[in-house]
């Protein structure tokens, strides 16, 4: 309870059907669904994780990959602290799109945004190496040039998913307790909440009837 809480606004970008929503679903509820409907607009989810002594709260905006929702993305990455650019390791086209997203983020998003490049669906490649269409080296090279974190994940098996978010959480400058106190109303922390367990809150003995 006394751990300082940091909120991280995180946005997922990438071509349609690369598995953005599945990554989030795996991270938030450790679940996977085989036939997911395409996302409409942008979905919002939150998840708390403990990193070292801190609690990090991820506010995740999962944007739709379809082209017609392209105009929505800037609204969400503009003041995001972190971005996940996702591509599909079996689809070269999605990697090209990922390059575009990285470029756009560097131009439009805030200067110290932390970007993670994520190659999804490695479970397909693990089964049959011939399915791989985007070389790991190529992606690593891009990550190195642009200063990105790089992961290859599988939302289906859950491989590397938590590592992605942990990696981002570790790179975000965590707030100290003194900064936390003057945080804006937007970052409601657990310190400010009413603790129902503490005896000071209860007016009378618990369970007693007033009559």
């Amino acid at each position: 309870m006394s751990k300082p809480v940091t909120s991280i606004k995180l946005v997922l970008l990438g071509e349609a059907a690369v598995g953005k929503s599945s990554i989030v679903l795996r991270f938030v509820s450790d679940d996977f669904s085989e036939n997911k409907e395409p996302t409409i607009g942008a979905a919002f989810l939150t998840q708390r994780v403990n990193i070292n002594d801190h609690t990090v709260k991820f506010e995740i905006w999962d944007t739709a990959g379809q082209e017609r929702f392209a105009s929505l993305a800037p609204m969400y990455y503009r003041n995001a602290q972190a971005a996940l650019v996702v591509y599909d390791v079996t689809k070269p086209q999605s990697f090209i799109k990922a390059r575009h997203w990285v470029k756009e983020l560097h131009e439009q998003a805030s200067k110290n945004i932390i970007i993670a490049l994520v190659g999804n669906k490695v479970d397909i490649v693990d089964e049959n190496e011939e399915e791989r269409k985007v070389a790991r080296e190529e992606a690593e090279k891009l990550a190195e040039e642009e200063g990105l974190l790089f992961f290859e994940t599988s939302a289906k098996t859950g491989a590397n998913i938590n590592e992605v978010f942990m990696g981002i959480g570790e790179k975000i400058p965590l707030k100290g307790p003194e900064e936390e106190a003057q945080g804006s109303g937007l970052n409601v922390t657990d310190d400010q909440r009413v603790n129902l367990d503490s005896p000071g809150n209860a007016d009378g003995p618990a369970g007693a009837c007033s009559c």
């Binding site: 409409i40 607009g41 506010e59 929702f69 929505l72 609204m75 109303g185 937007l186 409601v188």
Partner: protein, 545 residues
């Protein structure tokens, strides 16, 4: 067998062997078409069957009978009438039947038929069908011709069923227009007569009242007796219905009570209430009635004195009869309202635009073709086009102004308000629809100006001129071209969708008591709403979908 049978039937009758010749029964002279039928007739009706023993019944005969009467097994033909006729020997001709060979196909579904039991011959055309496609019934005579009166029911194929004369997919049709118009005319005549009667009574009552009023003078006693006299006069002209049997109002059917009094209409005599809400009857001033029915042959003049305040009670249906048709005529003859006048102007303006636009569009497409072929545009065409554009532009502007003026008029009544709303929809649609094709002009002309620099000075000047016009046009359209409008509209749609989703997400989070999530989502919703307003502002009038 046939021949032997016939000879036995009687030597005196020479049975003709030709197929077409008429066959008559030698005993009762009944006509038959085929020998087989005649034989059946002789066997069964005249009892020859017992004499000729079954020795003659060859396998061939059994086969024929099986083929002639398969319809007996058909449930649709199994009615008493039919089976009786068939068994009584009246058998339909089967000469025209197509022969069945294994492997023939059903003429309708083209299914291969293997067994004889599957096969049906259409009794009319004789073609081979499967059971399913020979299931219609039709009345045929012995020659297998359609005979709706005396024929017997036989199964037939669908095409014969449909091709028979008088067949109608939609069933029979009866023209009732004359009956309807007769009934209607009769009712109208009745109504006219009724109206005449009512008007007659009205004239007599009003004349009578005025006469009595003038005769009464000013005396106190006279005034007291006047009402009594008028009442008597009214009763003498119109027979009043018995009010003790009338339990409810003749028009609104409200029951009469102590408070809801009975009243008599002075024109039709029926018992009605005077409820102010239903307006079943009203006391109407003689002066007013006299004015609205000035065309009726009154003999007395309305007293000029302002003290003449007599009125008569008239029910709403009589009042309608007397007043409504007259008001309609007056309304039609009177000057149309300002709203309608403006609308006439608007219509004529839109007619002007409609007459110019086709030619203008033609010129535009000509120019597009010229541009694609990299030819310099025709100078005369350009000048003509710029002239047209100028006219169009002026017309559109005045159309717009006129429409706005029209909408600024305060409507006089509900119907005018409705008309106004309709005009608003129509005019805004009209502008949007007609102006959108004109947005192609900037790109075409813009290119033509640049590619045209080497050509003659006149055409250049013309293009310059048109460019200025185009600028004006795009001012009118918020500086957006078709593509931009489309993009903005799509964007607007996405944002609206997202804002809707956010609202539902907020609701969900609220239910789950997840208030920091609600806060983030509301913030986002606010951003989206601002963006929506931005786009709507940019789109302006083009924003509607």
């Amino acid at each position: 067998m046939n021949t032997s049978n016939a000879y036995i039937a009687g030597d005196q009758v020479d049975i003709p062997h030709s197929e077409n010749a008429q066959l008559n029964c030698p005993i009762c002279f009944k006509p038959f078409t085929t020998l087989a039928e005649l034989n059946e007739h002789l066997d069964q009706d005249h009892g020859f069957q017992n004499e000729i023993e079954s020795q003659n019944k060859t396998t061939e005969r059994i086969e024929t009978s099986q083929r002639v009467q398969p319809s007996k097994r058909n449930p649709r033909n199994a009615n008493n009438h039919n089976s009786k006729l068939e068994s009584s020997g009246k058998l339909i001709s089967n000469r025209h039947w197509k022969k069945f060979t294994p492997g023939s196909k059903c003429n309708d579904c083209k299914r291969q038929l293997k067994k004889t039991s599957e096969v049906r011959n259409c009794r009319k055309c004789g073609n081979i069908y499967c059971k399913r496609h020979c299931a219609n019934v039709i009345r045929l005579n012995m020659k297998a011709e359609y005979d709706p009166k005396n024929g017997t029911w036989y199964s037939c194929c669908h095409s014969c069923y449909e091709l028979r004369p008088g067949y109608n997919d939609f069933g029979g049709r009866v023209d009732l227009t004359d009956t309807f118009s007769n009934t209607r005319n009769k009712m109208n005549v009745d109504k006219e007569l009724r109206k005449l009667q009512i008007e007659n009574r009205l004239v007599r009552i009003i004349d009578g009242i005025i006469k009595l009023y003038i005769a009464a003078g000013d005396g106190v006693m006279a005034i007291m007796t006047l009402d009594y006299q008028i009442s008597n006069l009214e009763k003498s002209i119109t027979p009043w219905k018995d009010d003790t049997t009338a339990l409810n109002c003749n028009i609104c059917r409200t029951n009469f009570t102590i408070l809801q009094r009975r009243h008599h209409c002075r024109l039709c005599g029926s018992v009605v209430c005077d409820n102010k809400n239903t307006d079943c009857s009203n006391e109407i001033l003689v002066r007013f009635l006299r004015r609205i029915t000035a065309d009726l042959p009154y003999s007395e003049k309305v007293p000029t004195s302002s003290e003449f305040d007599k009125s008569i009670r008239i029910c709403s249906s009589c009042f309608d009869m007397v007043y409504t048709s007259r008001k309609f005529i007056v309304d039609v003859q009177s000057e149309p309202s300002a709203l309608i006048l403006k609308y006439y102007n608007l219509r004529s303006l839109s007619e002007v635009i409609d007459s110019i636009l086709p030619r203008f569009e033609e010129l535009l497409s000509n120019m597009e073709i010229a541009k694609e072929l990299n030819k310099p545009p025709n100078a005369t065409e350009i000048s003509e086009m710029s002239k047209f554009r100028e006219r169009l532009l002026r017309s559109f502007t005045s159309y717009n102004i006129l429409a706005k003026q029209l909408l600024a008029i305060t409507p006089a009544n509900i119907s005018e308000k409705r008309i106004q709303a309709s005009i608003q929809t129509v005019s805004s649609n009209y502008i949007a629809e007609k102006i959108l094709p004109m947005k192609n002009i900037p790109t075409i002309l813009g290119n033509s100006t640049s590619s045209n620099e080497s050509s003659t000075a006149t055409s250049l000047a013309d293009s310059e001129h048109s460019k200025i016009e185009v600028k004006k046009l795009s001012d009118l359209m918020n500086n957006l071209n078709v593509k931009e409008i489309k993009e903005y509209r799509e964007e607007l749609m996405v944002y609206k969708e997202q804002s809707f989703m956010l609202q539902s997400m907020i609701e969900k989070s609220k239910r789950q008591r997840n208030f920091d999530e609600v806060q983030i989502l509301s913030q986002n919703l606010q951003d989206i709403t601002t963006r929506i307003h931005d786009i709507q502002g940019k789109l302006g009038e083009q924003g509607f979908e």
